[in-house]
């Protein structure tokens, strides 16, 4: 595999990570994830029905853990304690699987991360043997703190979860990328393919998204577009863009040999 994304010592060919929420049904979920090429897929942990609907299909039958790296999240948790408890349940559910996505939210209006609680949860989880990929604010100092705690990836938001507002502060993302020794994955805010490409061109190691695919008019088609955008953005980053030349044009064609000269 050339240019793999390496998280906690494991290599992945795809730099696109996808969520599994907001799809019409499990068939569409599976089809979109196949089209995205993602190998790491996030899931949420919720109470099951307790016998009211025993034949209900299970998401993990559609996305078998033997085939995908399942990344359980703590979406909906507003305290470190709830997040830790949720991920301990996830670890039991997934037979000891250590790789998790930590997010501790600050309020239901913005879903902005509560960083003090996030740092506290990260510390507990790392000590408990989890490999923590962490949703965080785009603050380079707190990203470094999370890295120092031992998180295996930092995942700053590009804009609010589910907003589709794109990359609102590329400069902060660059500060985080330039300083980080662990993968930096933009998590939240991507709206369309160009947003994903911009994140990758900035030097992000990957992009995690859900709503941009699931709420597109044609989710499966958008999943394919995102796959290409992430690949194109990564290639452009590695290729190294030309410098920006403000107010100075530079013709691509020769200036000599013009007819009539």
């Amino acid at each position: 595999m050339s240019d793999p994304l390496v998280i906690a010592g494991k290599s992945y060919a795809s730099r696109l990570l996808v969520g599994t929420g907001k799809y019409r049904d499990f068939a569409e979920t599976r089809e979109a994830i196949e089209a995205s090429g993602a190998e790491i897929v996030t899931v949420a942990i919720r109470r099951t029905n307790i016998g009211q609907n025993p034949g209900e299909p299970n998401l993990l039958d559609v996305l078998p853990p033997e085939r995908f790296t399942i990344l359980p999240n703590t979406a909906g948790c507003y305290s470190a304690d709830d997040a830790v408890r949720t991920l301990r349940l996830a670890r039991e559910l997934l037979d000891g699987h250590a790789l998790v996505k930590l997010e501790v939210l600050g309020d239901p209006t913005t879903l902005f991360p509560n960083m003090p609680e996030t740092l506290k949860a990260a510390e507990t989880l790392v000590k408990d043997g989890f490999e923590v990929m962490v949703y965080c604010s785009d603050d380079p100092i707190q990203a470094r703190m999370l890295e120092d705690i031992g998180c295996v990836a930092v995942m700053p938001l590009a804009s609010l979860i589910g907003s589709g507002m794109g990359i609102l502060n590329p400069w902060n993302l660059r500060l985080i990328i330039d300083a980080a020794k662990v993968p930096v994955i933009v998590d939240a805010g991507v709206g369309t393919a160009s947003d994903a490409a911009i994140a990758m061109e900035l030097g992000c190691d990957g992009v995690l998204m859900n709503t941009a695919i699931a709420q597109a008019r044609q989710p499966v088609r958008m999943a394919g577009a995102m796959r290409k955008a992430v690949e194109a953005g990564r290639e452009a980053f590695l290729a190294g863009r030309m410098p920006r030349k403000l107010y100075s044009a530079d013709p691509s064609s020769p200036q000599s040999g013009l007819i009539g000269s």
């Binding site: 969520g19 599994t20 929420g21 907001k22 799809y23 979920t29 996030t42 899931v43 949420a44 942990i45 919720r46 109470r47 099951t48 307790i50 016998g51 025993p54 034949g55 299970n58 998401l59 993990l60 039958d61 399942i70 359980p72 999240n73 979406a75 408890r85 301990r88 349940l89 996830a90 670890r91 039991e92 559910l93 997934l94 979860i161 589910g162 995690l208 998204m209 859900n210 709503t211």
Partner: protein, 67 residues
């Protein structure tokens, strides 16, 4: 009978019921799920031997779609 709280709902079940028997009775045996009892994980390997007690609070969770 003993009183439990399962996923936030009060329930009465027969005395001496194990976690495994409860899951079986609810059609949840063999499903991909995880059980927490009074804040502590009950590992799958101990479902059969873990007897429920009056006042136990259980959380039974599964993976669902999420971002």
């Amino acid at each position: 009978m003993i009183q439990l709280v399962i996923n936030g709902q009060a329930e009465s079940v027969e005395d001496g019921l194990s976690v495994a028997a409860l899951l079986h009775a609810r059609g949840l045996a063999g499903k991909r799920l995880a059980v927490e009892r009074n804040g502590e994980i009950v590992p799958r390997a101990r479902h059969a031997e873990t007897r429920l007690a009056d006042g136990d609070r259980l959380e039974i969770v599964v993976a669902v779609g999420g971002g």
